[in-house]
């Protein structure tokens, strides 16, 4: 399955790109699974996700927890805790 990943703020800077399309290998069911797999793809991903539980995720523009099922997600976002307002 192909999914669009988008990154923001220091997650984007650490990974070095704002977005990418990835082909997910089988066995990746949740957001936490996806993060584990991304961390095997290079040290930029290891750096971005180095502190478990800090980076937030959204599926199709909605906040989700790490145990959220990816299902048929079109777009998954990773970003730091928000600092708007």
């Amino acid at each position: 399955m192909t999914v669009k990943l988008v990154y923001f703020a220091w997650v984007r800077e650490r990974i070095g790109k704002p977005e990418e399309e990835v082909d997910l290998p089988s066995g990746i069911a949740t957001v936490a699974d996806l993060v584990r797999w991304l961390k095997t793809r290079g040290e930029e991903y290891e750096y971005a996700f180095e502190n478990e539980g800090v980076v937030r995720a959204a599926i199709n523009h909605t906040h989700v927890k790490p145990d959220a099922a990816i299902g048929t997600a079109r777009e998954i976002a990773f970003f730091p805790p928000m600092t708007g307002g």
């Binding site: 988008v6 923001f8 703020a9 220091w10 959204a58 523009h61 909605t62 906040h63 976002a77 970003f79 730091p80 805790p81 928000m82 600092t83 708007g84 307002g85």
Partner: protein, 156 residues
């Protein structure tokens, strides 16, 4: 009541937004506005740069405003959040709420600010007066605590 949501680079006009909510109405007794501005942090800051997640920002602000409308009897609600480079003294965010009574207007405005701080996908980075790009602003525990206050039943 359909909340008005704008995510934009341009500044906003508080009086125009109040007028848009209340014009021609005779049933509104209370209008509260909150304007968040960029501070210079004691002269250290040249600007804040606001990055946002286009699409999700609008969606999340609409969800937060919808939740306020479900909790309080509002006759109008507007949320405007700017992005891009914003200098000290300039506006960042505007919340306007209208209700028959003041308690609902006040509480809903405060709720909107507390909630959007922790849920709307915006990130601030500092640009310093010495020309360097500073760090990303860190999220505050006090903001999480402020949002947490609203997890019970509304008091009005």
């Amino acid at each position: 009541m359909t909340p008005t949501i704008h995510v934009q680079a341009e500044d906003f006009d508080v009086a125009a937004e109040i007028a848009a909510l209340s014009r021609g109405r005779r049933d509104i007794g209370a209008v509260t506005t909150f304007t968040g501005l960029c501070r210079d942090e004691g002269g250290r800051l040249a600007a804040l740069e606001l990055e946002h997640y286009a699409g999700m920002a609008e969606a999340e602000l609409a969800r937060v405003a919808g939740e306020a409308a479900a909790r309080w009897p509002l006759q109008g609600a507007t949320v405007i959040h700017r992005f891009g480079k914003i200098r000290p003294g300039e506006n960042i965010v505007l919340v306007v709420t209208a209700s028959a009574h003041r308690r609902a207007a006040f509480e809903a405005a405060e709720f909107l600010m507390d909630y959007l701080k922790t849920r709307a996908p915006f990130w601030k980075r500092e640009h310093l007066l010495d020309g360097s790009t500073g760090t990303w602003v860190e999220a505050k525990d006090t903001d999480d605590a402020a949002a947490e206050r609203w997890s019970g039943t509304p008091s009005a």
